[in-house]
Subunit: 417 residues, 2 copies
Amino acid sequence: MKCSLISIGDELLIGQTINTNASWLGSELSSRGVRIIKTLTISDDRNDIIQAIDDSLSVSELVIITGGLGPTKDDITKHVLCDYFETELEIHEPTLHRIEEFFSKRNRPMLEVNRLQAALPKSCTILPNDQGTAAGMLFIRNGKWVVSMPGVPYEMKSIFSNELLPLVEKEFELKSIYHKTFLTAGIGESFLADMISEWEALVRKKGFGLAYLPSPGVVKLRLTSFEGLERAEEIDQLFEILENKIPEFHFGYGNDTLSSSLGALLCRNGNTIGTVESCTGGAVSAELTSISGASDYFMGSYITYSNAKKESLVGVNPIDIEKHGAVSQEVVSQMAGNGRSNLNVDWCVAVSGIAGPLGGSEEKPVGTVWIAVAGPERIFSKKFNFGDNRERNIKMSVLGALNLVRREILGFNEEKK
Amino acid sequence: MKCSLISIGDELLIGQTINTNASWLGSELSSRGVRIIKTLTISDDRNDIIQAIDDSLSVSELVIITGGLGPTKDDITKHVLCDYFETELEIHEPTLHRIEEFFSKRNRPMLEVNRLQAALPKSCTILPNDQGTAAGMLFIRNGKWVVSMPGVPYEMKSIFSNELLPLVEKEFELKSIYHKTFLTAGIGESFLADMISEWEALVRKKGFGLAYLPSPGVVKLRLTSFEGLERAEEIDQLFEILENKIPEFHFGYGNDTLSSSLGALLCRNGNTIGTVESCTGGAVSAELTSISGASDYFMGSYITYSNAKKESLVGVNPIDIEKHGAVSQEVVSQMAGNGRSNLNVDWCVAVSGIAGPLGGSEEKPVGTVWIAVAGPERIFSKKFNFGDNRERNIKMSVLGALNLVRREILGFNEEKK
């Protein structure tokens, strides 16, 4: 079964909003065997919308449109769909009732524009929205489905999961596609490819699709079987071979993240963790606590952004800051070691670096980052250089810190430096 | 001048990677008067790529393709482009030299797959990549441009800004479009629309395009003039009127964020800030320090994720935790007040809430969040309920905290509770 996604909104085209709906829908649908053949983003323009629906219907059985259903005057999708499917708007009583409830529950007065959101095309199936006021709509013509949902991500997700998906699963016989993704950290794409070239030859011999998905700090390897679950076991076995080949770089599968994998590792060992952060400003801590259940192992952190706080909060020796600078092995090691004692945790990771764009020098250019991990037996520290982009430096420092802890717990770091 | 963007990659279609390239290019191009008419994402498939280029060339003068140029075997774009433009690959010496330099600078050995990245189509203009090994390519046919760039965002951005943009600006006479975006926080889309309906009527009378761009916690209003800078002043004046109408909700323009606006406000007043965070786990602090120059006003934070750390790091009274719970006005007020003293800052914001999915109760459901701001004169606290999604709760808590500090500094919060 083939599907096209259409996202409507000038804010997407001019880059004011990033299109996360398309990727979310892509993930949900493809994991259920629906093949996404294209995603298209267009303007709130009548002709463009009609053209996009025409084109998409010619190559797919399911067309999902998101966006353009808001209560304000710039949203035209509902009206265009009425014309396209030769029907007209009328107040849909159950939806009106829902909208009224939505407002009364929140103790907020209901406005006329909200009431008008209950005016919906006569000839479609309404997909109720329990998170907001814009209902979803399903039109069927010649066995092909056209669905329109609001663009607000959590409203769209709720309608998709609760209303649309059960209908799709019931109506279409889905041929399943099996994807599995192997996650690596701390090694570049080319090096990884070189290191695993024999394994890759084996994969291709067996006829699976292999994709490298590089992103800063993490390279993912995806194997695909278009014959569905039948060959899932073979893929599992191939990845087991790879795990044994490169254990030090492998940290998980699928939707795992460095923080979820590290969390699982800490749980397994019954250990706790905390952080002491300078240039990452709490981003390591935030990443660790993005995982539900983090309170089982994550205790707390000191964010010591200024030198004064490095001294007053975790007792870094001011003479060392003076002598070696705040971005140095001496200072970051004290941050980690003292943080571990003060927070009373098993593992403490500390980060001090120059995120930029200001603050670099010839000796320590922007992107220089020291990371230290204090554990039961030693403090291990390592210097990184992530280049000259602030946002990327912070992100790479977060991933670098999480990976360094993972490696230290598993014994993959070199001898003490 | 009209432009279509094509992104190539199964990882985008199946939602493994979010397409940030399209939004970044959309923003860069539209701000320079290039109209993005559509963005299309397709698979690494020869026929799909050819069809997409054909379709895009029929409606636009500039077609920009990103992705599919990696060193690994699944990337086919370069070969498809060779066939499409009836040319062949040959080693491009300057690119080979660049790639060699790239590896020697990083003290990394160069692999054969990297050398092959210097094999480029004969008949195109090479756009050098100073951030990586995959060069950009520009093909011109009948005055229309087709550009191919790698999908790694920072490599693409570098090629676009340093190589492609100067060529586009030189060759095409760009008609400028003027966008300006007014940012609000702490008010929903419908309420905002109702509150400013008179102003909106004025805007429409003057013939400008108005768009509401809602996202969790923030609603943006965008005015567009297709007559370019000529009418920019009128747009500025319209927004000035709006500023005076809703000062309490307005926090900035364009790419401002709550953290950058708050940072500017703190700088202007010569004030410092710190945080004490529980459910946000450092995300408020990370958001504050995402801004370059944050060290001028941001000093540090305590992340007190466990109750024990609330006591040991910032001296919250354990009796109050026992009596009222960690998510309570009493506890969050002590976190803010004690944090302000311990960190020795002018403003301290504290957050304690139930991010979920676990930990809720009938009295305090998931999404219940207390935020307190301690300042020179008082501690102001407020209870929020953000609903049942963990990720959204953390995000809304961050925005809520930043907005509550902003409002407190500017005197927009109600009487002390």
